[in-house]
Symmetry: C2
Subunit: 209 residues, 2 copies
Amino acid sequence: MKLYDYKLAPNPRRVRVFLAEKGVTLPSVQIDLRAGEQFTPEFRAINPECTVPVLEFDDGKRIGEVVAICTYFEATHPSPPLMGVGAEDQAIVAAWQHRMERQGMWVAADAFRNSAPGLKGRALPGPEDYAQIPALAERGRARLGKLFELLDGELANREFVAGDRYTIADITALVTVDFAARFGVTIPNASAHLQRWHQVVSARPSAAA
Amino acid sequence: MKLYDYKLAPNPRRVRVFLAEKGVTLPSVQIDLRAGEQFTPEFRAINPECTVPVLEFDDGKRIGEVVAICTYFEATHPSPPLMGVGAEDQAIVAAWQHRMERQGMWVAADAFRNSAPGLKGRALPGPEDYAQIPALAERGRARLGKLFELLDGELANREFVAGDRYTIADITALVTVDFAARFGVTIPNASAHLQRWHQVVSARPSAAA
């Protein structure tokens, strides 16, 4: 089994942090997205979507969505649990993880990919070229501000995003916050609860993964 | 336990089809999105996100993401399995379900909400108003065309979206296809495999849910 990865990209980092929390190590292959290695015929044969991460099983089967890769390791390495314990908690964690993607990761990607000079004509990852939409970048930045407000309010009442235990929802939120900071959208000083949470999750050894 | 629902909206339909496949019936409350009932103070107290579906437990806890609600019922009503059997299959189903959202449901929502005259200033669901972005509607329609091509190719080799068994990925794909048809983006006649699949999944009793 191996992981196609790229050290500088936010989505593969979500898998790396998840695996570090589980204590799982995997051989990995770096696909240099800045050098365009995701578009080589060799990598297209591995993942026609031209994205990382991709988990490859020894029989050649491949899975290319972060949450799916995490689902696999949650089932095979249940301890520590990162996707909830019992039906109700699993649902609550799934809801927050999903929301952190919809209102976080994908929104940060909107903000970044629709404005970065190096991504002209590449507003979406994948094999197709799409023009940048400046209004979408602007909307993305505004929405990240709203997300930070929301999370600050939620984290006033509990330690972690989905409850009193660190979960995959914290990982998605952490990677979103750190990704947004790279293009200048940062947690406001006034958002003390979100700041506190960010310090806590960043201090975990897994955050360096 | 009850479900806040709206018969005409695509996201709650995903939950209804899932429950119908499981043979689960729940009391439901219709929130008339066309009449703006999601913005009443009463409903904002139930879900500040102003969206349906919402699953409400008897103790008052609430979950408001489709995949999270389905996660709950998969755990409590495992038969028939709709989210995979065993770690590897669960991951494959999660990958396809997720992809059907990212490349399907959310893209159809881009296409619809950024162009529908009745949704001016409401390009996103939720409590905030965002202006429509016409370029995003146009991109959404183009991407749905690409999705139909992709699915037609995939379904040449297997019966259902995630393999040889009907799963949540088929539900997300079915609801996406039917939603897109409402604004004129339909499966091309040449996409025989996708047409075949659509007939099969539409003929299941759950499709009427």
